[in-house]
Every structure is written in structure tokens, then in C-alpha cells.
Symmetry: C2
Subunit: 144 residues, 2 copies
Amino acid sequence: MRLSTRGHYGLKAMFDLAQHYGSEPIPLKTVAERQNISDNYLEQLIAILRKAGLVKSIRGSQGGYILAREPGNITVGDIIRAMEGPIAPVDCVSEVEPAECTQADSCITRTVWAKVRDRLAEVMDSISLADMLRDAENLLENKQ
Amino acid sequence: MRLSTRGHYGLKAMFDLAQHYGSEPIPLKTVAERQNISDNYLEQLIAILRKAGLVKSIRGSQGGYILAREPGNITVGDIIRAMEGPIAPVDCVSEVEPAECTQADSCITRTVWAKVRDRLAEVMDSISLADMLRDAENLLENKQ
DNA sequence: AGAAAACCTACTTTTTTACTCAGGTTTAAC
DNA sequence: GTTAAACCTGAGTAAAAAAGTAGGTTTTCT
């Protein structure tokens, strides 16, 4: 039950953009440095986020990336689904196009994984980037 | 966020043993056939379950496997932890020995994954093999 | 003794992951 | 219009993990 670096880095990058939402576009290289990710690799990952409509790019000098929507309107679930595909502990309970399973109607392990899937989706969909910004602020306050 | 076949097959095998709890030991080959798993492969998997203390083996002719505890006392979480290791969407929030992270105190994505981990553990620990047996019975009744 | 079954270890193949690299295209400041 | 900074694309690759195979040894029941 691990996330790949795609999901992990994807959320990091999106959170970085959220922290600078409202100002100029952020160059990929800047995000990569701040989040400690190879920029060649991040370039590929951010392309996925762009195609999923989660970020917008501004090309050319002084260009960069910005969130496509406000942080309150983008959830962890959105990002993870974009980066890792539909949530599905096992193929036969995928959120979209579940794999065929001959014993689907009597398979009890299947109903277990459906419950796990639903809880996973529930928690990921309940956390927005705005929530994360709020958490970051609180963390900072408690430190001082 | 996928399970490997280890966890998937592991739960299937354990559920199979649960369905025959209280009678003679079940040969591995029988479980493998019923659950449609290569018996060579299942042999490796069940060795993990045995070392984790979840099943007992009876050697020799008429031998086989039985659950080490009653079905109400074995949870999906027990089985998945045995088969896949500690629950941890990313290494830095592993249930045991979380990986070092230089920004641990200010990393917000980390707190997200901790929440995901806790929900995962919660749902898996709340379902026992006995619960699954009950579900199976209900499913059967509704069919008739 | 013979058969059935667990046990053990090592090997192989396949798939996925996590990158890297090379070369392009577009834009905007100057 | 040149140049630099940025985005875009696709191919390639090394390492790791996953999934499965194979063959032999030991134990115990009959």
C-alpha cells in the first residue's frame, strides 16, 4: 500500500504552487529545487498535472506554473488520481473500469477492498490544498 | 496505492482457512485450487503467514494448515502487515521505523500521509475474519 | 515401506519505477 | 532579431520489486 514517487512528488509540487498562489508563475526549476526533486523528472510529472487540468503553464521568459483553480478547490484525491490513476487497492474494485472477476458475486475479500478503497477516497477527497495551507500556518504559529 | 498479490492472495488464503476453521487441517494444494493461486507461489506466501504466527502447520500425511487463532481474533490489518510490511503510504510515515526526513517538522504533505495511514489502519484493523464469514453468510441468504 | 504433505532454498522472468538524456518549440526581455 | 529562459516530447535505461518456477528434503499417517 505505498504511493509511488509520482504521487508523492506531485503533491509536494502542488503544495509548493499553492503556497505561492496569486503571485507570478513559478518556474519549474524553482519548485524542483525547493522540493528537492530532479527538474528533468519533475518536468514529466508536471506535464501529467497539466493534462489533468490541475495546473496552468505560462511559457517563455518569466513564465512558469500556477494552479488552475484556487487551492480550496483542489483536493489531495484530485492530485493522486491524476498521478497514480483511479484509487484501487486491487483491480477488481477500481473506481473506474473494475477488472473482470469470475467470482465477483461471492468474493468476500472483494468487499473488504471496496471498503478500503472508499475510506481512502474519503480521506483524500476531504483534504484540499487550502486545508494544507491552514495546517502549515498553524504549525508555524505553534513553533514561535 | 495498490496492494501486491502477496496481500491479496494472503487474505484469500486466510479467509479460505477461516471458512473451514474447527475441522481438519487444510492442505495447501486445496487452498491453492479453491482460490485459484499457483501452489508453488502460495507455498511461499503461507510461509510468511506461518512465521507471523497467523497460521499453524501440521506436517506429514493428512497434514495441512489451520488458523493459529479463532477468526474473530485475526484482522485484515494483521494479515496485510504480515504480507506487505508496516502500513505506510510513504516511508516517512511508516508505522514502524519511519524513514528520516530532514524537513519532518515543517513538511505538510507528511501530515497528509499520516492521516491516510491512520485511516487505512483503522479500516483494516476493524475487519476480522469472523466479520467476513458473517458477510459471506448474509450474501448467501440474500441470494436465495 | 509408501504416500501425502509440509518445508526450504535458489533461480528466473516480467513488470514497474524512477529516472536520464537529447533535442525540440515557444515566448518575452533587451 | 537575438538570446536566454522556459516549456514540451519521446526515447532509453538501470535498478528494484513482484510474481512465479523448480527441485529437493523432511515429517507423519496408514
